[in-house]
Symmetry: C2
Subunit: 234 residues, 2 copies
Amino acid sequence: MSQNPDPNSPPAEAQDTKDRLIEAGMAVFAERGFADAGLREICAQAGANPAAVNYHFGDKQRFYTEVLATCHQRAASHRPVPRIADDPDRPDVVLGRFVRWFLELLLVSSENDYLGRLMAREMVSPSPSLLEMVRRSLLPIKAVLEEILRALLPPDVDDQTLGLCFASTISQCLFYKHNQPVFQAMERIRATGREDERLQAEFPDRNDLDELAEHITRFALAGLRAAGYETDHR
Amino acid sequence: MSQNPDPNSPPAEAQDTKDRLIEAGMAVFAERGFADAGLREICAQAGANPAAVNYHFGDKQRFYTEVLATCHQRAASHRPVPRIADDPDRPDVVLGRFVRWFLELLLVSSENDYLGRLMAREMVSPSPSLLEMVRRSLLPIKAVLEEILRALLPPDVDDQTLGLCFASTISQCLFYKHNQPVFQAMERIRATGREDERLQAEFPDRNDLDELAEHITRFALAGLRAAGYETDHR
DNA sequence: GACCGATTCAAACAGATGTTTCAATCGAGC
DNA sequence: GCTCGATTGAAACATCTGTTTGAATCGGTC
């Protein structure tokens, strides 16, 4: 259990394999989810022995926890969240930035940033780490978006309406991540018969993302006005 | 492989176990998903032997396919879909009915109707049967909703805008199904410290569902106006 | 150069899964 | 009443999983 007691003498290669395991773990866990990801596949991708996981982390669960923690630390520095304080007079613009930011977090693959994909996985098929992930990543995001929404809603909105508006906004973004298998299936159906063209056009290219973010923002802004108006005159 | 050649002499008990297996399969598959559902658990719940699955259906995959098929047939008769033809002059009212219907399909447990829950499972963690489920259940639902949306959008909307509006509407409903684990986690966090009260209030009671449907409908109607307006003047 | 702790590796382990086997059982028809 | 095909059941099977074992290896220290 206890590592090298002398912090000045790192075994060099030891830290290496640990890091390689975490790196490979992020990739495979993000793609397959906690349950479906096999330690043997991760270890193969890391060039390590299956026993290394248990040696360095104890067991699969604690290994996964450490992967999530690393991912969280790393993502905090990448792509900072757009906040209402960035542009206090234009909450509508900030909402647009937030939507764009969140879509990118979920949909755009980056070699270094797996947090969005791991979050999405954890949301729909939870592991024992869900609770900590909610506390650490999801709730802060929720707080930021609700701050933006408050600026767009009447000043006296009740918490329930705020929560509903939060759901209506964030759900539109999550939709495109959670239902990727369905999109692919629909594409395959639509392409039945005509074998030509690209069968599967790597879903969100830059243009798609821009249009998506623009539509969601416009849709949400109108919805928010309606929700806030109704609340005022209830 | 070949069953009893004489259709007038059902082996009585044989059809029984087959039906019991399908019944138990619907319940367990809906709760655990295709991969996580164990045949032994299903068979125990059906009072049958694990070998019965392979005898009657061939293998787990074909068994699951048959469960989905039965579920589809059965659901077609239950809760019919609200259509634009029901009330052609009030597409806004029809949209409200559709939202309510879809939320109920996803969230309200019924002993006889597992289609919504199986659909939701299949969408986020697909099995080889996803393609057929999309073709059979999802695309028809999509067609019905798009028919309603067309009546609420300018008559000359392009397909892309229609698709985006479909996503923005349906995603709000799916959100509450797909993220149930997250809600429970948030509830547990919010209840930390104070042990009192019901820890987990069986999420969608009748009132919640009504409020939910009302909010989503209002939010979507406003969003649709905004999306349609923008399309007109692009 | 011999020791020693930390680390790696191949192999085996225990448990669960879907599937198969084959004998026992049931039910109708001659 | 017996026979034969359809059905059931207990057990074994093959394969996969995470995990453990114990010997081999490496790197630095006295």
